[in-house]
Amino acid sequence: MKPYIAILSSRFRTLLQYRAAAIAGVGTQLFFGLVRMMIFDAFYRSTTADQPLSHSETVTYIWLGQAFILLTLFGVDTDVALMIRNGNVAYEMTRPVDLYKMWFARALSGRAAPMSMRVVPILVVAGIFFGLTPPASFTAAALFHVSIVGGLLLGASMVTILTISMLWTISGEGISRLAPALVFIFSGIAVPLPFFPDWLQPLIAVLPFRGLMDTPFRVYLGHLAGTDALLAIAHQVLWLLALCMSGKWMLSIGIRRLVVQGG
């Protein structure tokens, strides 16, 4: 386990250098959150019908989404992409570590590090000025933490699969271009998932993408509590295992047929 933790922490430290990007990111996300919030304020002013989320729950959901936006940001690891293109991936394979775990650790730090710099300032500002409410209960807060870690790992497992798919496509096209659209709509970042029509909910519930955001956020709101919360976290864990296993399997095939580019 040791080398992977070393990879994780060294990448983490590298990425923490990008402080200016983080400040810009915080500003941008606050702006987007504000726009979304005003849009939903207007929607709630316009209706008296019962909604799947209350006004204040929606506002909290939106701000959590802005704070944890990097959970849904999908792109292949550009460093690994370059290695596959210029042939340096051959060196990666000679290292005495498991390639899957190494790439997984990279993917994990790639999102955890920049996120760690943004979450707190956004939550603090939104909490003081813009109506973000605290977790529903102590249990909700505890389960939220578990579930956010689940979302992080789940996201890393998806990104790792995208990275591995580059062994076939080299350029990183194909699923890595289409995946962001799926994540965008089915994770809850575009629209809080409870607002989707009832007939779509069974599909949303099965797909892995809700585990990235919607699950932790609804646990936070107390919308998913007790058994429901545990089941939702189990859903995250099951998909995480499934995606890790398929990723490993893909990698083992991809490496067998890999032609190293360049010289």
Binding site: G27, F43, V191
Partner: protein, 268 residues
Amino acid sequence: MKWDSLRLYWRYVEISFRSQMQYRLSFAFHAFGHFLVTGSEFLGFVAIFQRFGQINGWTLPQMGLFYGIVSIAFAIAEAVPRGFDIFPRLIRSGDFDRVLLRPRSAAFQVLGQEFQLMRVGRFTQGVIVLIWASQRLGIDWTASTVALLLFAIVGGICLFSGLFVLQATMCFWTTESLEIVNCTTYGGVEAAQFPLSIYRPWFRTVFTFIIPLATINYFPAHAILNITDPLGSTRIIQWLSPIGGILFLWASLQFWHFGVKHYTSTGS
């Protein structure tokens, strides 16, 4: 001279097309992915409207008109003056020095850097929404309302181009791109997809008088829909307002010229 520049620009575009078409499949996936992301965003709005019915009295097809205008304008503004978007690279590498040596204006050459074809995804999606909205609204298109629609789109292209020019100009001083400006470009698109009247007053002021987004879809849309503006703009203002986008671009270019004069090379 004018025609000569136009011919040269066309050459730039041609080269850009050809280089992007070298990776046909890559281009197709890119454009299609873009189409899917923006399309799913609109489907999200459809879902919300199904729950809420309307927003401050505005219906989904009405919002589709706002959405369509701003999407089309932004898609073109992302494709055409893309050179300003990637301008920091030119500054950092020092290649801007070469631009200054050539016998054409710097703005013209930066503009010709790249024509990004893959934005056709967002463009197509915007057109589809606009056509759908206008059919649902039963808009009676006349020569003059079509002209106003085109005027609004042109105004929008100018406005967003102006923002890209401003963002690029700041690089003369900061060397790196100021991501925070994305609030006004991407954030502006996000905001202008809905009628401006739903926002808070300070926000409306910013997007009417400082970054005049309201002039390119909120005001003209009232004239096209033939309805009264709750914010009290008159028909004449609504017909003329897209000029705000053009003025914004003109002002941005003045700032750009000022920046070019103050440019010092990064060297190497």
